[in-house]
């Protein structure tokens, strides 16, 4: 990768290449959009129109819903000019996204927000903790960290195995934890030879039992020669719990935050969240914040 500062975000039209279910509750959308695929760096995000554009012009057919939806990057394939995003159907916008089919064109803006540059990560080991649709962005981040010679370890939490965004496979951990050597690991990370463990609230063999903080605690009790820090991404209560634990243990924690957005690019102050230094925009100052700075409400 070049050392240049990534070019400004792009406002452009992307083409849907594929759309597949991802686990039982989510979809994986593949978009062709070379500008974004080449310049995006995790955990940046992009925004996407809910309606496909009509054949003849730039405007969609329907004006409702109006706003674009922010999504993170799951896999980036800069060489192919493509990327994948995984999303969960929660409301009308994501319901519409689920109706997109190959060939449809959508309006996109991205990459947006700050990224985590491996060279700014001081610790050698990074615990990537998250759940739900927070896991896919951690995938692209984990790859980036690994490519830069860091040790990413993924810690996932879910209610049941079925609500995980990805299938699990048995894996022998490189770095055993809590006395366990062989656990169920998330398949995409395993394929990239990245350790991952999963905590389920409904107990099952090969998984940790309880909230995500259960395995996270175990990890934080280990020794890390090159130091350790956390990146948290997932449902806000989970991120908050992770941040809380990090605070107790005095481990640095980056929280990837969500917020309702207008412009996505810093112009409207819509996406403000409360921090110790006042309101901060998730789309510009975020989505990554030092968890110590977040004022949880």
């Amino acid at each position: 990768m070049s050392k240049q500062k990534p070019a400004g975000p792009y406002e452009t039209v992307a083409t849907v290449i594929a759309q597949e279910p991802a686990g039982a509750v989510a979809y994986c959308l593949t978009l062709e959009c070379p500008e974004i695929a080449r310049s995006a760096r995790p955990p940046q995000f992009f925004t996407i129109s809910c309606h496909p554009l009509t054949g003849d012009g730039a405007d969609g057919i329907s004006l409702d819903p109006l706003l674009r939806r922010p999504l993170g990057f799951y896999r980036l394939r800069p060489e192919k000019g493509e990327f994948d995003a995984v999303y969960q159907v929660v409301g009308r916008g994501t319901k519409l996204l689920a109706t997109l089919k190959p060939g449809d064109r959508v309006r996109v803006l991205g990459p947006l927000g700050k990224y985590i540059s491996p060279k700014d990560v001081n610790s050698q080991t990074v615990l990537l903790a998250g759940g739900g649709v927070g896991l896919p962005p951690l995938y692209s981040l984990a790859e980036t960290l690994k490519d830069a010679g860091k040790e990413p370890i993924v810690i996932a939490g879910a209610r049941r195995r079925e609500t995980l965004i990805a299938p699990t496979v048995p894996r022998k951990l490189k770095r055993p934890v809590g006395g366990r050597r062989e656990v169920q690991s998330l398949e995409p990370f395993a394929r990239s030879d990245i350790d991952s463990v999963v905590a389920l609230e409904e107990p099952e063999d090969g998984f940790f039992e309880g909230r995500i903080t259960v395995p996270l605690k175990e990890y934080l009790e280990q020794d890390y020669e090159g130091g350790v820090e956390i990146v948290a991404c997932g449902p806000p209560p989970m991120v908050r719990a992770i941040a809380g634990l990090a605070g107790e243990k005095s481990v640095k924690c980056a929280a990837i935050m969500e917020s309702r957005m207008g412009c996505g690019i810093g112009a409207c102050q819509t996406c403000a969240i409360k921090t110790t230094s006042g309101y901060r925009r998730v789309c510009v100052e975020g989505p990554v914040f030092d968890s110590k700075e977040i004022v949880w409400e």
Partner: protein, 320 residues
């Protein structure tokens, strides 16, 4: 030059003159959705050439932290916002942001807001002194601050405010009206009498979305301002009403509310607008001004008009 262009091409001209500004198109980016211009100018290949002017986000005398989040609630074909005028204050804006304006090839109008008339006046004076600011738009109607609608709902207060700003500043003053707060024609006349050089019609409509699960308003500030295509028919009607009051006095009207396409812009202009403002639509496409300009151009060709200004106020009522 002009003649040469006139000969070279049959393309209609989107150029207009407004308040002494030469604008390449009648499309103005509305206050609050285009920040201080540099944020959106970061977008790769961003092009100001189809933007006639930008109204910068409303500035207040002192910094404001704005309202608690969430600050946006989506509604059918529209959105509520409750930003609450978050801004770093006029001095900071001048010191840190206005210097960048010279990099962007368009006209800039400063938006101002406040609680007391004194604040508005002081703010306007400071901004008007800046060489890259061509006019001052007075936000008389922010629905997101306490008592925010007072100036827009009482013609006496409106006149007092506009008169004071006008006296304290040597650049043209635009009064930005608010809808749904009484007789908009009366307020318009009061602003004109007080010296307004143009009228923007209009700001957002107050609305509320309730999160039924929690039985609380979705917005942190409870209510917010409705914008986007949902309000377009209301805005077109208000522009037409204000035009009837203002045309006689030769005061230009700037139409605003729900514009997404060239046809929407044409509706506003036919209803009486000399120029249009585009806000929420930027959230769907940052290059929207270029699309609207292209649509307006096609419309003028179809109508065999040479100049966009020729359509302003050409509405023929069916019941006239």
């Amino acid at each position: 030059m002009n003649q040469e262009r006139g000969n070279k091409t049959a393309e209609p001209s989107l150029e207009i003159g407004l308040l002494g500004m030469k604008m390449r198109t009648p499309i103005i980016m509305a206050s609050g959705t285009f920040g201080y211009a540099f944020e959106i100018a970061r977008v790769a290949e961003f092009d100001f050439s189809q933007i006639g002017a930008v109204v910068l986000k409303s500035v207040t005398l002192e910094p404001r932290q704005g309202n608690p989040p969430p600050r946006v609630a989506e509604t059918p074909s529209g959105m509520l916002n409750s930003i609450g005028l978050q801004n770093p204050g006029v001095d900071y804006v001048i010191r840190r942001y206005l210097g960048m304006l010279k990099n962007f090839d368009t006209n800039f109008i400063a938006g101002i807001a406040g609680d007391a008339i004194r604040e508005y006046v002081e703010c306007a004076g400071k901004l008007a002194a800046h060489g890259d600011i061509r006019a001052i738009e007075v936000n008389m109607s922010c629905p997101n601050v306490k008592d925010g609608r007072r100036f827009a709902s009482d013609s006496g207060a409106a006149a007092e405010l506009i008169g004071a700003v006008k006296k304290g500043c040597r650049k043209p003053v635009i009064a930005k009206l608010a809808p749904g707060t009484g007789d908009i024609q009366e307020i318009a006349r009061a602003c004109i009498d007080a010296g307004a050089d143009a009228l923007s019609v209009s700001n957002t409509y107050v609305g509320m979305v309730i999160d039924t699960h929690r039985r609380r308003p979705l917005l942190g500030n409870d209510a917010g301002g409705l914008s986007g295509p949902a309000i377009r028919p209301l805005a077109v009607h208000n522009v037409h009403l204000v035009y009837q009051a203002a045309a006689r006095r030769d005061v230009p009207v700037i139409g605003c509310g729900g514009i997404m396409t060239g046809d929407d812009a044409a509706q506003m202009m036919i209803a009486g607008a000399s120029a249009v403002q585009v806000g929420t639509a930027v959230f769907t496409n940052v290059h929207i001004a270029a699309d609207i300009a292209a649509g307006l151009g096609r419309y003028l060709i179809a109508q065999k008009e040479k100049e966009v200004s020729a359509i302003t106020g050409t509405l023929q009522l069916n019941r006239a």
